[in-house]
């Protein structure tokens, strides 16, 4: 019995030796911030990007 209690004591007490342990601040909490959902590109948006792409393709080698 005495040996059992001693083992228990030694086992539990190793917690204070655990130097890498951080306080349980984040345990169980959500911390990822949600951003607004992306929208679909409109026809006008797509046309603008196409114009940018066409201008780029036409002039990219004239640098």
């Amino acid at each position: 019995m005495a040996a059992f209690v001693c083992c228990l004591g030694l086992t539990v007490c190793t917690s204070c030796e655990d130097t890498d342990k951080e306080p349980p601040v984040n345990a169980g909490y959500k911390t990822n911030i949600r951003m607004p959902d992306a929208e679909d590109l409109s026809t006008e948006d797509l046309e603008l990007i196409e114009r940018q792409q066409a201008e780029y393709d036409q002039n990219k080698n004239n640098i």
Binding site: C16, T19, Y29, P36, L48, I49, I63
Partner: protein
């Protein structure tokens, strides 16, 4: 009976000995106690800053941070990103905002290190070297508060620029201060930098000499719209470190590491020996330079900055970096002259800089200043006033000069009206919204301390 008493004693021993694990104060770290230990702690921090190590890089910046913010601004054309290689580039600021929570923690870790040393430093055996160490701690803390103000608070002059960040000036892990006012955070950054300046740091190892600290004071005053003080601090440094001519400028910009030319301080001062830098340079080529940025150059390739930055297919060729150099302070002084109604001085400085970068550049007069193009995102200045051609010309010169340095354009967008704009990525439209220019405080901190006020726009967590 003796056996019973023995059992009771053992059980008592087992239960009482374990209370140490409830004591969270040490947090598993050893707190330094001796002069050598304090010095070692500071040396480790400075080494991390020099190497651009995770966490420490937040103080001065790093090439990877500069690239990240550049990707969120409009000098590159996100709409033309090449995929799949471009998948690794940041889409827009919203994509990295949640991760900014750790930046807040990293900056407070740097403040904690400074506080530990400043709290424990004994003046009993004061030596010359001690002035350098204490001065450096004040410099680090001052720059950290400047960074917190810039990133986690609204821009000065805006209606929502009321809240600062918690002020912590001693080492106490149980303290949970609420957010200070904007003015108090600004005052803390200024007081630390002024205190650091009073020590006149001599040893080059400590990086923060008088010119560096004055440079950061100029940045702080410029950020907060204190034009006269920014002008004085910037001018003092520029007088000692004049602008370089075109050839010397090119040499400086082509030198990857070290304080070449009139560079005063930089993140990644020395190579970390890895492939991070070359990888970042390669990756950013998958997003072409925007037509808007190219259009800033009336003289095209004749301007050394264009020649250094633009490679075939409009890919970036300039070395990405985080640094403080004389030309930034020159530009700060130029803008200060404008806001102080010294228009002639501002114009004189503007033309001097343009001539140094491009000998063929024709001097501007008030009548020949470039018109503000329709596709310029900045439409108002740091005071909320409409952008004038004169200020546009100054900001335009800054945009050319600081391309791929410090993510400068993103911070300029924040300082000058926080414009909202969108980018298209794989059929979707991502908006940079006004609130996104002010980063979120760590959500975990708001759980632990409900009185800590989160910035607007970050209510939804998952």
């Amino acid at each position: 009976m003796r056996q019973y008493i023995l059992h009771v004693l053992l059980v008592t021993l087992a239960l009482t000995a374990c209370s140490d694990f409830l004591d969270i104060k040490p947090y598993g770290k050893t707190i330094p106690r001796t002069r050598e230990e304090y010095k070692a702690l500071l040396d480790e921090t400075l080494n991390g800053i020099d190497m651009g190590s995770t966490g420490d890089e937040q103080l001065l910046g790093s090439y990877s941070l500069s690239a990240s913010y550049e990707e969120c601004a409009d000098n590159l054309e996100t709409n033309l990103t090449e995929y799949p290689s471009g998948n690794y580039l940041t889409t827009y600021i919203g994509a990295i905002l949640s991760g900014r929570q750790s930046v807040y923690n990293y900056l407070y870790e740097l403040i904690r290190t400074s506080n530990i040393i400043l709290d424990g430093w004994s003046p009993d055996t004061w030596e010359r070297a001690d002035s350098d160490i204490v001065g450096t701690c004040h410099a680090i803390r001052g720059v950290a508060y400047y960074q917190l103000l810039r990133q986690f608070c609204a821009p000065a002059g805006s209606e929502d620029a009321t809240l600062g960040v918690p002020i912590v000036t001693t080492f106490n892990m149980e303290a949970k201060p609420d957010r200070s006012t904007y003015a108090q955070t600004e005052a803390q950054a200024e007081a630390d930098l002024r205190k650091a300046l009073s020590y006149h740091i001599q040893d080059k190892m400590y990086r923060f000499n008088d010119d560096v600290i004055l440079g950061y004071l100029a940045r702080l005053y410029h950020w907060t719209g204190r034009w006269q003080e920014a002008l004085e601090a910037a001018t003092e440094v520029v007088d000692r470190h004049p602008l370089l001519d075109s050839a010397a400028y090119r040499t400086m910009q082509e030198t990857t590491y070290g304080l070449a030319g009139n560079r005063l301080i930089m993140g990644n001062l020395i190579s970390d020996g890895g492939t991070g830098m070359s990888g970042t340079q390669t990756m950013i080529k998958y997003r072409p330079i925007s037509k808007r940025w190219l259009n800033l150059f009336e003289e095209g390739k004749a301007d050394v900055r264009y020649a250094l930055a633009v490679a075939k297919k409009r890919k970036n060729a300039k070395i990405i970096r985080a640094n403080l150099r004389s030309a930034e302070l020159y530009l700060i002084a130029m803008e200060c002259h404008y806001h102080l109604d010294h228009t002639k001085d501002a114009l004189l400085m503007l033309n001097s800089l343009r001539r140094l970068r491009c000998p063929q550049a024709r001097p501007y007069t008030p009548a020949t200043l470039p018109a503000i193009p329709d596709d310029e995102y900045i439409r108002e200045d740091a005071t909320g006033a409409p952008l004038t051609p004169m200020l546009y010309a100054i900001l335009r010169e800054r945009r050319k000069e600081m391309f791929m340095e410090n993510g400068d354009r993103f911070w300029e967008l924040k300082r000058n009206g926080r414009p909202e704009f969108w980018v298209g990525v794989k059929g979707k439209k991502y908006w940079t919204r006004l609130f996104m220019y002010t980063f979120p405080l760590p959500v975990a901190d708001t759980y632990v301390q409900p009185s800590l006020i989160q910035n607007p726009g970050y209510e939804e967590v998952e």
